[in-house]
Symmetry: C2
Subunit: 380 residues, 2 copies
């Protein structure tokens, strides 16, 4: 037996590819790819460092460290003032050796600092990973690294790419009825969505027009419909999602004081009768899970469910037309490749064409600030 | 149902923590950690970006992409001249949709470029991930991302930290007898080790002294003993490792023309009689898998097995005394926490103390160039 360690060309960083490198390389690469015969002659002295490759291969350890630290509430304990590995181990109910090795690694990736034998949280880790913070996103991170997601994406990625879609079965994948992870999602992401929901409500109401009847398709934690209902005191919301998810959204609606103007309609948004007519139909963070034909069918039904002059609002991560940017969208595209049968992140022109084909004549694009998400406003 | 996507504060990069940030933060953090009451008052406008946290959580997708691309030989196919997603899909036996989404993500993390609809490999990817390259490390990357490793590190990292050691059972973990992954390792890493083996042979022979009998402890693919045997024409090597690993090392020894001066001794290096006396005992990339008491016992036995004036050579990733650098060593420390019952990456002072305690009087430290590994030369 030996070890799993490899030579590296850098003593001082864990290197992972950034877009800048990718873009620069794309610009340089045009016509410059070496022929195999040239590459065969690479001598050790001309070889580039392999460290980006080993670091990308080992990247799963970052996910593991995040799962461990959030699961044990390490950042919360640090925020409470437990700073040494012994104190943290005691507080978190873990072995000191385990906590020390975990925290040392978190120092190396910049999420903790170490000063005088005490760990301290980086500003972003303190703001988002301390459970006492109103901005806590640990539960949302648990969703994106859930056992189902890891099984889908990481257990056999060769099979995913071969198949061109998820290897999860019909009961497991992420558009399966009442798929269990969406409950985790609905509980976890609400804090992250408060800002975008308010932005969306501002945007929708800034255009004038009647807003009395709102449909929130694939509502998740319900934030978008709830924020709009709070902004427009007479508006009523119908929210469609799986029953277990809607139970959480309903709690949120009551908590926000709009419970009496908010109603759940449980079911599959692709099949359930939408009802209507509506003045606004919200479709947030949903279309990338669907196959193109499912999107088209949904948008036609949404168009039909709108009152004359009504509008739909599609908020969504989207790819640029080059398909390889923004980077987060390409990563989400790989994610939905592996978690759904035929989902894909749409490009802006694709979604625009779909909306026009579904009958929407007037169209506006907006960007969600500090985000890769975009918003299409489309009028019937 | 909704989506697993989160707001980001950057449109143009996938951000992951680098040491620079960590070190800078450590320097800044001294005494500056905010009290919980201060953090409670963070308003959206003063919140830092959560993108480092989401990107670290999503880092497993980089591992998945590496596994898929190496497993399907995408980089080899690109090197052969297959450039479009359709041509690559055909060559790799995969769905075009899968190949396109995978390659677009690889563009975003900088391992591929895209020009005129054709993917091109970045220089490091072409050098190390094209199976036709003599520097191919794809098999080594398969080892570091094997199913066993992923199970150990990622399936339940909370339990790993709680326990302070592996959750794998006695037949599965990485110092279990004949653990299956070490065969993958021995086959995969030989190309990566050629350079360090030559450096080691240079170093050992540069000090003069008799070198007739060499022991290679936990020999793996056998490169180190083989390189030394090639340098010293009369030297004989005894290599200890599991039988399946030694079979590969023996092939390598024969291939290098030293098969007649190279002998296998299969077994557990912690228990097998070492024999001797030896002039040189090589212990490469092994000690971090062991508990401190196992290291100590091994080094005492090595000292006893050396001839007077003989030396041991321990080549190893090592932590600095601060334990949080170099970053790659902290990552390997988290790795062995999860893959072994009680392994840990030693610090330089720890290993020095162990060697002295085992009876080694004279000690020299060397750094392996372009690597985080260090080499201790210790004389009896």
């Amino acid at each position: 037996m030996t070890t799993q360690q490899h030579g590296r060309n850098s003593h001082d960083e864990i290197t992972l590819g950034h877009l800048e490198e990718g873009a620069a390389f794309t610009a340089l690469a045009r016509g410059q790819q070496k022929a195999p015969s040239e590459r065969q002659s690479l001598s050790p002295s001309t070889l580039p460092s392999p460290s980006r490759l080993t670091d990308n291969a080992f990247a799963f350890q970052r996910t593991a460290a995040m799962r461990a630290a959030v699961g044990l509430d390490v950042f919360t304990a640090i925020g409470e003032g437990y700073g040494t590995s012994a104190a943290l181990a005691d507080r978190c109910g873990a072995a000191e050796r385990g906590v020390r090795v975990l925290c040392d690694f978190l120092v190396a990736i910049g999420l903790l600092g170490l000063a005088d034998g005490r760990y301290v949280a980086a500003p972003d880790a303190a703001a988002y990973l301390d459970r006492r913070s109103p901005a806590f996103i640990g539960d949302a991170l648990n969703f994106v690294t859930s056992d189902s997601v890891l099984k889908a994406v990481l257990s056999d990625p060769v099979a995913v790419v071969r198949r061109g879609g998820t290897i999860l079965d019909d009961a497991e994948h992420f558009i399966a009825p009442d798929q269990v992870d969406w409950t985790t999602y609905a509980r976890g992401v609400a804090p992250m969505m408060a800002r975008s929901a308010i932005f969306l409500a501002d945007l929708v109401t800034s255009h004038g027009g009647t807003i009395e009847r709102i449909l929130d398709v694939a509502a998740g934690p319900g934030q978008n419909g709830i924020a709009l209902a709070r902004r427009v005191p007479d508006a009523h919301v119908i929210a469609i999602d799986w029953p277990s998810v809607l139970a959480i959204a309903e709690e949120n609606a009551r908590g926000a004081g709009v419970g009496e103007r908010w109603n759940a309609r449980s079911g599959n948004a692709l099949e359930t009768e939408l009802g209507g007519p509506y003045d606004v139909v919200l479709i947030a963070r949903f279309l990338h899970l669907l196959a193109p034909d499912q999107r088209e069918a949904l948008l036609r039904r949404v168009h039909a469910a709108l009152a004359p002059g009504g509008r739909t609002v599609a908020m969504q991560i989207m790819l640029n037309d080059d398909r390889v940017s923004p980077p987060f969208a390409t990563m989400m595209n790989f994610n939905v490749l592996a978690t759904t049968p035929s989902g894909q992140v749409p490009t802006v022109p694709e979604l625009e064409a779909l909306l026009r084909s579904a009958g929407f004549d007037r169209l506006e694009w907006h960007e969600l600030p500090d985000s890769d998400e975009r918003i299409a406003l489309a009028w019937k």
